[in-house]
Assembly symmetry: C3
Homo-oligomer: 346 residues x 3
Amino acid sequence: MKQFSNKLTAGKIASLLKVQLEGNPDSIINNASELTEANSQSMCFLGNAKYLSAAQECKAGLLFVDPDIDKTNLPATNMIIVPQPYMMFMLVVRQWLQIDNQSQPSVIADTAKIASSAHLEAGVSVGEYVVIGENCRIGADTRLMNHVSIANDVEIGANCLFYPHSVIYQEIQIGNRVIIHAGEVIGADGFGYIAVNGKQEKVPQIGIVCIGDDVEIGANACIDRATLAVTKIGNGTKIDNLVQVGHNCVIANDSVLCAQVGLAGSTNVGSQVYLAGQVGAAGHISIGDRSLVGAQSGIASSLPADGKYFGSPAIEAMQEKRMWISLKKLPQLMKDFRKLLKQHEV
Amino acid sequence: MKQFSNKLTAGKIASLLKVQLEGNPDSIINNASELTEANSQSMCFLGNAKYLSAAQECKAGLLFVDPDIDKTNLPATNMIIVPQPYMMFMLVVRQWLQIDNQSQPSVIADTAKIASSAHLEAGVSVGEYVVIGENCRIGADTRLMNHVSIANDVEIGANCLFYPHSVIYQEIQIGNRVIIHAGEVIGADGFGYIAVNGKQEKVPQIGIVCIGDDVEIGANACIDRATLAVTKIGNGTKIDNLVQVGHNCVIANDSVLCAQVGLAGSTNVGSQVYLAGQVGAAGHISIGDRSLVGAQSGIASSLPADGKYFGSPAIEAMQEKRMWISLKKLPQLMKDFRKLLKQHEV
Amino acid sequence: MKQFSNKLTAGKIASLLKVQLEGNPDSIINNASELTEANSQSMCFLGNAKYLSAAQECKAGLLFVDPDIDKTNLPATNMIIVPQPYMMFMLVVRQWLQIDNQSQPSVIADTAKIASSAHLEAGVSVGEYVVIGENCRIGADTRLMNHVSIANDVEIGANCLFYPHSVIYQEIQIGNRVIIHAGEVIGADGFGYIAVNGKQEKVPQIGIVCIGDDVEIGANACIDRATLAVTKIGNGTKIDNLVQVGHNCVIANDSVLCAQVGLAGSTNVGSQVYLAGQVGAAGHISIGDRSLVGAQSGIASSLPADGKYFGSPAIEAMQEKRMWISLKKLPQLMKDFRKLLKQHEV
C-alpha cells in the first residue's frame, strides 16, 4: 500500500484522467493498494476476472474496473469503468507522486557543502551531507538527496531527482527530468591504457559525459567519461542497475539497457534499441536502431537495424534458435552417424 | 592474523566448543592466525598432514589438530584434538567476533541526522554522517556504520549490521540479524516502462522490499522495490556482491545467489536454491527448491525442483554436458561426414 | 575540451617531451581539445589524414602533427611534428594533469572525522565528510575525496587518489600511486558459508586485502577480504568498473580485468593476463601468465600460460572458433544427414 502525502477526492482522480466516475465525487482517497490490503480510502484496480473474488471482498474507496468484468457483486461504491484499468490506475499514481513531490518544500540542508561559485535555480532541494563543487549549475526544482557528491563544473537541468550516494565527477552535463538512482557513478575515468614493455600506462581521460533529457539511470550503474570528446546518453534512454557504459559510447534516444548490460568503449547504440539483461557489446561497433538483443547475448560486431538478435556471439535470433535446436539433437546424431559409418565399413 | 579486542584463555576457548583441552587452561590467546605467522598468543589449526612441517615450526599458543595427525613433533603446548579442526577453529572465531562486537559500546555519532519521529531501540549504534528518515524503527543492538542512508518509514530489526554507504529507500522492511555490506541499494525503483509511440513511459514503482531474518547482502548489490506489492528475500538467504534482484521477485528461505547474478522481474526462487556466479534468470518464471544452477547459466524458463542445471539457456546439467562434448567433436564429424558423402556420390 | 588550471607555453610543452617546436615558444596554451572545438589557446593533434580538413579550419594554438601529413594548408602557427602525435599529445596531458594536481593545495576539510590515532603524512588531502578510523596510516600526498570511508587499521601508501564514496574496510593494505574510483568497496566479507541442515552458516572472514603499487580500481568494483590470509592485487594491475574479485584470489602484476569480470574465490591470475568484459572464472583455479581471455568467457578450469582462450567453458580460442563455425553449419548437416540416411535405407 502506497500512502500519499496529499489526499485526493474520487472526483478529482476521475478528472485527472478525464474519465467518468460512478459514485460519490467527494469520497476521500489517500492511498493506492492491492485488492487484498485495501481500506475505505484506497484506490484499487480490477483488470482480470481471476481477481474478481478478491474484489468482491475489497473495501476500496475507489475501484478501476474493466468494462468487460461483471460488476453485480462488487461492493465498491465508487468505480471508474475503463479499458486497461491497471494502466489508468498507474497513470493516476504517477500524477499523484508528482503532486506529492511538488508539495514538498524545497529545503537546503545546513550540512550541505555548496561551493560559493555554484549556482542553484529556484526550488532546488539539497539533502544532508551533499557536496556541490565549484561552478556547478543546478536547474530549477531539481532534488539532490542525502550524500550526493557533485564535483566541479557540473551542469544539471531542471526537475531532476538524484537519489542518495549518487556520484557525479567533474565537468559532466545532465539534462532535464533525469532520475539518477543511488550509488550510480557518472564520469569515472574510461578504462584506457597503453601497454609499454608489459606495463599498462594510463591514458588520461579528459572527455566528458553528456546525459540527455528524461533519462533514468539505475542504482550502482557506471557511465564512464570519454577519453576525448563525449560519452553520450540520448533523450529518453533508460538504463537499469549495475550497467556499465564504457568511454566514448554514444547511445541514441529512447533505448533501454537492462540490468548488468556492459558496453565496451566507443560503441554506438541506436535509438529504441532494447538490450536485455547481462548483454555485453564489444567496442567500436554499431547497434542499429530498434534492435532487440536477447539476454546474455555477446555482441561481437555491428548489428543492422530492426533485427532480433541472440547468442554469444549474437546473430539473427531465428538462426541462433535453429542452431540451438540442432545442438540439442547432436549427441543422437553422433550415435547415428557412427552406426552408419560402421555399416558402411562392413 | 586477526587480532581480537578481547583476550580469551585456552580453557575458555575449549569450553566454548565443549571440547577437551590438552595443556594449560590459563594460557592467554588474543589472535587467530595461519601457522606461518603465529605467535605465542595465536590460535591455529592443522587439519591436513601436508602442513605438518609448518606446524612443527609454529609457535602458536593453541593448536586445533585432527586426531589422525601425528603429534609427536608438534611444539604446541596447548592442543585441542578434534575432527574437522578448521571448522572448530572457525566456530571459535565466529563466537569471538560476537564477543568483541558485544563489548563495543553503542555510540550515536554527533554527526548522525536522525529524524525526531524515528525510534531507535536500546543499544543501537549510529556512525558518522548517517541519515535516518522520518518514522523509521530500528531494533535493539543494530549497528549502522558511517554514511548509511535510510529514507523515511523504514523498519529494521534487531542485531543487524549495516556497513558504510549502504542505502535503504523509503518504506523498506528488514528483519533481524541481517548483514548489509557497503554500497548496497535496497528499494530503488523497479525497471518498469510502457512504450508509447516509441517513448518509454515510467511505470511508478510503489511497492516495497521485505528482507527476512539472517539474510546477508553483499557489497554494491541491488534489490529493487516492487511495482505494487513486495519484492521478498526469505530468511537465511545469502546474496553476494553486485547481484541484481528485479522488482517483485520472491526468493524463499536459505537460498544462495553468488556474485553478479541477475534476476529479471517477478521471478520466484525456491528455498535452498544455489545460483552460481553471473547466472541470469528471465522474468516471470519459477526456479524450484534446491535447484543448483551452474555459473553463467541463463535461466530462460521455469526449472523443476531438485535438479542440476547448466548452460544458456539452462537445461539439465548432464544433457548440457553431453551437448558440449558432442560440440567439441563436431568439427571432426563434419570432415568425416563430407568424406562419407563423397564416397557415397562416387 | 579540457581546461587546465595551469597554463603552459608551447616551448615548455615541447621541452616536456624533449621534441622540437616549430613556431613561437612563448605562445600560451591552457587547454587540450579536439580539432573541431579548438581556440587559440588549445593544444590539438592530427594523426590521420582523414581529419586534415578539420585541421585546416582549426584555430589551435599548438598542433601535434604526424610527419607524413601534408602541412602546406595548415593554419597552425605552432606545430610539433612527431610520429604518433596522439600518443605524444596524451603524454603531455598526463604530465599536465600531474602539474595541476601538484599545484592544488592540500586541504583537510573541517568536516572530516579523523581518528586521533590515525597518522597522515605530509601533503595528504581529505575531502568533506571523509571518515578515517583508528590506527590508519596514510602516505604523503594521497588525496581522499568527499565521503570516502576508511575503517580502522588501514594502511595506504603515498600519492594515491580515492574518488568520492569509496569504501575501505578494516585492516586493508594499499600501496603507492593507487587510484580508487567512486563507489568501490575493498575488504567486504568473502562469500563463505557452510550448509548445516539446509541453513547457510557464515564462515567468518578474518583475512585481509593487499593492493600493490600503481593499481587502478574502477567504480563500484568489489575486492573481498580473504577468509584467512590475503586477497592480493599485484603491482600495476588495472581493474575496471563493477568487477568482482572473490576472497583469497591472488592476481599477479600488470594484469587487466575489464568491466564486470567476476572471479570466484581462491583463484590465481598470473601476470600480464587480460580478461575481457564479463569474463567469469571458477574458484580454486590458475590462469597462466599472459593469457588472453575473450569477452563473456567462463573459465571453468586452469589455463596454461601464453594462450588465447574463448567460450564458456573457455577453451583454446581457435578451437572455440572452429566449433562455432561448425555449429553454424549444423542445421544444414542435420538435413543432409537425414537425406543420406533415407537413401541408405532405401
